[in-house]
Point group: C2
Chain length 210, copies 2
DNA sequence: GTTTGACTTGACCGAACAGTCAATTCAAAG
DNA sequence: CTTTGAATTGACTGTTCGGTCAAGTCAAAC
């Protein structure tokens, strides 16, 4: 029997949207309910608490967006270094898209939420860690494969993957704070130097503007 | 006539402490007042709003901690690349210190606050930008000097400084999310590759533990 | 000794907060 | 037709939120 009501999924998406566009702070139960078009009683029919909804929303976002995107970007059909190229383009495209559609660069909801709730919501933070580690795993395995092919020479792939990921998230958060998608593009050159290999330059349609 | 009351400064420090240890969300006026030992009426005698206190607190933190530390780390008496070495040690020491004293790695209050309030508090975000740009300026001028001395060869120092800064902040935020100071140490090797020069290894007292 | 003004106090406001609950709707299974 | 239970509703609770305000205290300036 398929789900009768779409309220649950609307709540998940309203939570993600609000965390991403505003913050976890702005994601009050009332605000989520209004955005989802769901009454408060129904909220607590589907989720035992606001925290539980947030955790479920992260899983939902991962399953519906992040994982499919990463499976495409890091597809084995692509040479390992080309995956990084695709990853850079993906982040940049999303930042530009954000600014066009929402008037703001929004960065990474996992990372923002993790930073915001790290000292206050252990359950939620555990979920964020789980997802960030999964993300980093894609980077690490691409580095391992590139190493094996002799494309690069990295001593500590796990550590390097962590640094690349931090560079991406750091640039992305700077882009959010400065509301400037170009901050995301900066890390192309940095990434090349970091892994010690040239990544084929992408089609650069210059759209510099602040 | 020197300030008669210490309430103002106690409020500034209570705000910074709360943002850093918890979040801006947790920094309610009541919570700040209680920590500072100040009644709410006095709060609004010194500051016209909570946002105004937060902005003033950032300036206070910069003037009393960040700027003195950076002036030391980036002292002209030190060779440019040695400044980066000192910077890395400084971030790592602070992360370890945090975990020892507060039981948690806390990251950078400017960056956390910026990410949390970017989409909701334009005045506060402007202040965060101003301070982050100042911080990045130290990195950029060290790169310029290292370039001039022939220690390194960097094409776009401003862009590279932005990447280094994002790497630092990204690692630091990962350390906060994972509550693991070692995440900060990771970026030593990454930074060397990023600027294309060996930074003299520091005394490595291995204290690996999670 | 009176005036001044920085500083303090605690009560108060309306709004927003997370969460509860009894009553109700309604489609499908028996 | 009746039963069942998932789904929905809106009123409700007690707390906390940012902010206001009138009434004070008190030390120094005049």
């Amino acid at each position: 029997m398929p789900p009768i009501s779409t309220a649950r999924i609307r709540l998940l998406e309203a939570m993600i949207e609000t965390i991403w566009r505003r913050s976890y702070r702005a994601a009050s139960v009332d605000a989520i309910c209004e955005r989802a078009g769901v009454r408060k009683g129904s909220f607590y029919h589907f989720f035992k608490s606001k925290t539980a909804l947030a955790a479920a929303a992260l899983d939902h976002l991962w399953a519906t967006h992040s994982k499919p995107a990463l499976d495409d970007i890091f597809s084995p059909s692509r040479p390992p270094l080309a995956r990084f190229e695709r990853l850079i383009d993906h982040w940049y495209e999303r930042a530009v898209e954000c600014q066009r559609d929402h008037g703001r660069v929004l960065g990474c909801p996992y990372f923002s939420l993790g930073s915001e709730t790290a000292a206050a919501e252990p359950e939620l933070t555990a979920k964020v860690r789980e997802i960030l580690d999964r993300y980093q795993g894609y980077l690490e395995s691409a580095l391992l494969e590139a190493n094996a092919r002799g494309d690069i020479r990295i001593d500590r792939p796990a550590e390097t993957a962590a640094c690349i990921f931090s560079l991406i998230e750091g640039c992305s958060t700077q882009a959010r704070i400065h509301n400037d998608p170009e901050r995301v593009r900066h890390f192309r050159g940095a990434l090349e130097r970091l892994i010690g290999a040239k990544i084929r330059p992408t089609s650069q349609v210059s759209t510099a503007e602040v």
